[in-house]
Structures are given as structure tokens and as C-alpha cells.
């Protein structure tokens, strides 16, 4: 998200990120790696569960093994490196666009570790939301 923050913010999106860990981890992440995001720490998995997110299962891992390798390679090519992980590394990610009334306008549930929506899809969704409001 940080890589494309300008495009995303240009279409009017606020960028919030929730990560599993403690406040100090959120501060470190946002301060050094993602200064364009407003970061929050989830000290338990409950906020994730509330939004329908869950940990990857062994079946998920087996089904998407090659996709996970591809996602890892892409991250490395983008210059991303893995530091000491916090929280629950099996938790799958989710990306949502929420409008000003708190209504979900876009929802993407990661199918495997490293599965994120294409940023141009997010830009299109935000543009659509802008036109309809």
C-alpha cells in the first residue's frame, strides 16, 4: 500500500492499516516503512475475526503453495524484506474500502499469505465511489 500511496490518496482514500502486534510495532512500521499510512495495532486476533478474517489452514497452504512463493518473490523484487514478525503469521489479510457512512464498498479477502488486491483495482473502486457520492 505504501508503494502506491500517492495514487490511492489522489483518488481520495484515507489509508489505514491494522497489524497484529503492539503499539510500538505499529509505530516502528509506520514510522520507517510506511509513513503514509495511519497504523493501528491489534493486540489480539479479535478485530480480524470481527471482519471475517481467519488464519490460513494447511489446505490453504497446500492449495496455494506456488502462489505463496510467487508473492514472496514479488515482495523481494519490490525491495521488501521480512523483519522479525509480530502477532500471528498465519493470519490472512483483508483489504476493504469503507465509505463515509461506514458501509463496505469493496472487500477483498486474501486467499493465501501475500495475496493482496491489485492496486489499480482499488483505484478504480475509489474512483467509482467518488462518482457516486
Amino acid at each position: 500500500m505504501e508503494l502506491h500511496h500517492a495514487e490511492l490518496q489522489n483518488v481520495g482514500l484515507q489509508l489505514l492499516a491494522v497489524g497484529l502486534g503492539e503499539a510500538k510495532h505499529a509505530e516502528r512500521y509506520c514510522g520507517k516503512l510506511a509513513p503514509s499510512l495511519t497504523c493501528f495495532a491489534a493486540t489480539t486476533n479479535d478485530p480480524y475475526y470481527s471482519w471475517g478474517l481467519h488464519q490460513a489452514t494447511m489446505t490453504d497452504m497446500r492449495t496455494h503453495g506456488f502462489d505463496i512463493l510467487k508473492a514472496s518473490a514479488k515482495a523481494v523484487l519490490n525491495g521488501q524484506t521480512q523483519g522479525a514478525a509480530t502477532g500471528d503469521t498465519a493470519m490472512l489479510t483483508g483489504t476493504f474500502i469503507v465509505d463515509q457512512k461506514g458501509i463496505v464498498r469493496y472487500a477483498y479477502y486474501g486467499k493465501y499469505v501475500g495475496d493482496d488486491p491489485a492496486f489499480d483495482v482499488l483505484v478504480k473502486e475509489a474512483e467509482l465511489l467518488k462518482k457516486t457520492n
Binding site: 502486534g21 503499539a23 510495532h25 514478525a85 463515509q100 463496505v104
Partner: protein, 47 residues
């Protein structure tokens, strides 16, 4: 077993949650909705 809610669909109300800001203060990100459309990303972890 954790109590995992169903997946959110387009048109659903975003559920309230409590997280911590970088200073350790609890808050619900819902307070940001009114300021404008929001991209809410749940990361696997910080690191």
C-alpha cells in the same frame, strides 16, 4: 474455537473494533470514516 464472523459483503456496515494507536490508546477506526472514504488494510503482522 475463535468466534469468526462471516465475510463482509458490499453494502454491509463495517463492524466496530477496538485497536490501539501508535501511542497505545484504544480506539475504533470508525471515527475515521466520517472524514472520507477509507482504505482499511488488515496486515498479517508488523515486520
Amino acid at each position: 474455537m475463535p468466534n469468526i464472523a462471516g465475510r463482509l459483503n458490499i453494502g454491509d456496515q463495517a463492524p466496530p473494533i477496538t485497536v490501539e494507536d501508535i501511542h497505545g490508546q484504544p480506539l475504533d477506526p470508525a471515527q475515521y470514516w466520517a472524514k472520507g472514504p477509507t482504505l482499511m488494510s488488515f496486515l498479517r503482522h508488523f515486520g
